[in-house]
């Protein structure tokens, strides 16, 4: 029993130890080098401890999150709706496919200058480019999810005269849900990337701006803190969606009467 516990704890501990050692090396190296570019880890942590709970830091975080939420909602909404249309009708899929394949091959940053021309340098532009980037992973995964619906389910629905609305909401959407949630998880990290990129440009606030501002002021601990916070945010968001994915999958297999693999 104790051996089993040790077996589970020791590997975890090893990972934490290596991480702590890496931080230690950073600290010692930065102190001995006294490099301007690399502040000691303790200085970054100290500054983060002081700054993170204040409005100076939380306001930009809130602004970034608001943009992410707005862009994500719009992009994911479009992705799911168009995905359901393309997934359930072969003709729609074939018609829209070349346009989709081309649009999603554009690195989302490339539409930023076009968005600036149309929408200016404000939040509308930021939300638009975030939505653009978020849309495609969701769209692709929704199509995939709908396409795996068994022909039997489709045929049964059509024999029972289930209308296209009923079919969409009662068959395609639930069936595609695990795939959609997986797409949302990929989309949220791309969305975060676009939040940062869009905030590098123009006026305003946000985490991207915060990092760039402190870089220009050579406030190294603040800049490192901002970057680390972004990593943390990405980790938390990813974990949330992983959790949702797991729940949806459990429910999905439960509803189908199968054990999750």
């Amino acid at each position: 029993m104790i051996a089993a516990l040790l077996n589970r704890v020791v590997p975890r501990l090893l990972g934490v130890l290596v991480f702590a050692a890496a931080l230690g090396i950073w600290e010692v190296w930065a102190r001995s080098e006294e490099s301007f570019l690399v502040p000691p880890m303790s200085a970054v942590a100290e500054r983060a401890w002081q700054v993170w709970p204040t409005a100076d830091f939380l306001m930009p975080v809130a602004a970034s999150l608001k943009r992410l939420a707005a862009g994500f909602a719009i992009g994911a909404g479009i992705g799911v709706v168009v995905g359901l249309m393309m997934g359930s009708s072969r003709r729609t899929r074939r018609t829209l496919e070349p346009l989709m394949e081309f649009s999603r091959a554009i690195p989302p940053v490339a539409i930023v200058p076009a968005a600036i021309v149309v929408l200016g340098l404000g939040d509308a532009m930021r939300i638009a480019v975030i939505a653009f980037a978020v849309c495609f992973p969701v769209l692709v995964n929704t199509i995939e999810g709908v396409r795996v619906v068994s022909p039997e389910a489709r045929d049964t629905a059509s024999i029972l005269h289930v209308g296209s609305m009923g079919r969409t909401f009662r068959i395609y959407l639930p069936a595609a849900l695990p795939s959609i949630v997986a797409g949302l998880r990929i989309a949220v990290s791309i969305g975060l990337l676009m939040v940062v990129i869009s905030e590098f440009l123009g006026e305003g606030d946000g985490l991207g701006r915060y990092i760039l501002f402190h870089q220009s002021q050579f406030n190294m601990p603040e800049m490192y803190g901002g970057i680390l916070f972004l990593g943390l945010l990405g980790y938390v968001l990813n974990s949330l969606f992983l959790f949702a994915e797991h729940r949806v999958l459990t429910w999905h297999y439960g509803a189908a009467g199968v054990q999750a693999p």
Partner: protein, 274 residues
């Protein structure tokens, strides 16, 4: 005495042509043309040239830029950093992934560090990378390499860990050396997974590369876009966007085709599903 057989009998021929037509997806491309035509009409009718160039002007600018050599020049600059950065990421990701994936101890030791570094968006490191490496080519290469490393590393790691232990044991008892097992068992087994990682990284690397050029604006197609936007040269700007989209498309398709050729044994289901 023998009669010459036609290379293809009639039925095969008909099927091939049929498949070509089907694959060409006429409806889809017609839709693109139709959409462009509608856009053209709307822009000209409502005089929206200030915010959106008519597609014909974009095409014209694209052709001009290609002929004059401006666009290819910028594209080559972008592709250089892209190729080197991605190559670094592939080598680093596969080597690290195989090493970590084949040793339980290494995996345990490194997972916290990996989980810590992986979620940091590569573009957030641009301000830091500028301070370290300046605004030139080395900075872009390293940034691209860093961003592209993680999907390859993680996918390689999973691929290696997913290798069937029985294959290892059989190879070991048959007297295959460690190196031989690595090359003949582990790598082929992990290859589909590695290919997936490379495909994900290839688009991510393009995003990171163009972003770095766009934000810093010294050279490359990203900075070209930024300059056209500032100069309000909309057809030139859109021409560059279309070109980058085409580049991304060619990279996607190229990798998908290569993947199907190289990891051909993964089977129909994976090949058609995308």
């Amino acid at each position: 005495m023998w009669t010459r057989q036609p290379l293809l009998d009639n039925g095969t021929m008909v099927r091939r042509v049929h498949r070509l037509v089907k694959r060409a997806n006429l409806a889809g491309w017609l839709f693109v043309v139709l959409l462009s035509a509608v856009l053209e009409a709307v822009v000209r009718l409502f005089e929206l040239q200030d915010s959106l160039p008519p597609p014909s002007a974009t095409l014209h600018a694209l052709a001009d830029g290609m002929v004059s050599g401006t666009l290819p020049g910028e594209l080559v600059t972008t592709l250089e950093s892209y190729a080197v950065g991605l190559a670094l990421a592939i080598v680093g990701g596969v080597v690290l992934g195989v090493a970590i994936g084949s040793s339980r101890t290494l995996l345990d030791a490194s997972f916290v560090v990996i989980e810590f570094l992986r979620p940091i968006p590569a573009v957030a490191l641009i301000p830091l990378a500028i301070l370290f490496f300046g605004v030139g080519v080395p900075m872009r290469r390293l940034l691209i390499a860093y961003g592209a490393l993680w999907p390859i590393l993680i996918n390689t790691l999973y691929g290696v860990r997913g290798t069937d232990q029985v294959l290892h044991d059989v190879a070991a008892t048959s007297g295959v050396t460690r190196v031989g097992r690595l090359v003949r068992v582990t790598l082929p087994a992990a290859l589909p997974s590695i290919a997936t990682g490379i495909r994900v990284s290839a688009s991510l690397a393009l995003l990171v590369g163009v972003t770095a050029e766009f934000v810093i604006g010294t050279e490359g197609i990203g900075s070209y876009m930024q300059r056209q936007q500032l100069a309000y040269q909309l057809p030139e700007l859109y021409a560059a966007i279309v070109l980058v989209g085409l580049l991304g498309y060619v990279i996607n398709v190229g990798l998908r085709v290569t993947e199907q050729r190289v990891v051909f044994w993964v089977g129909e289901k994976r090949m058609t599903g995308r």
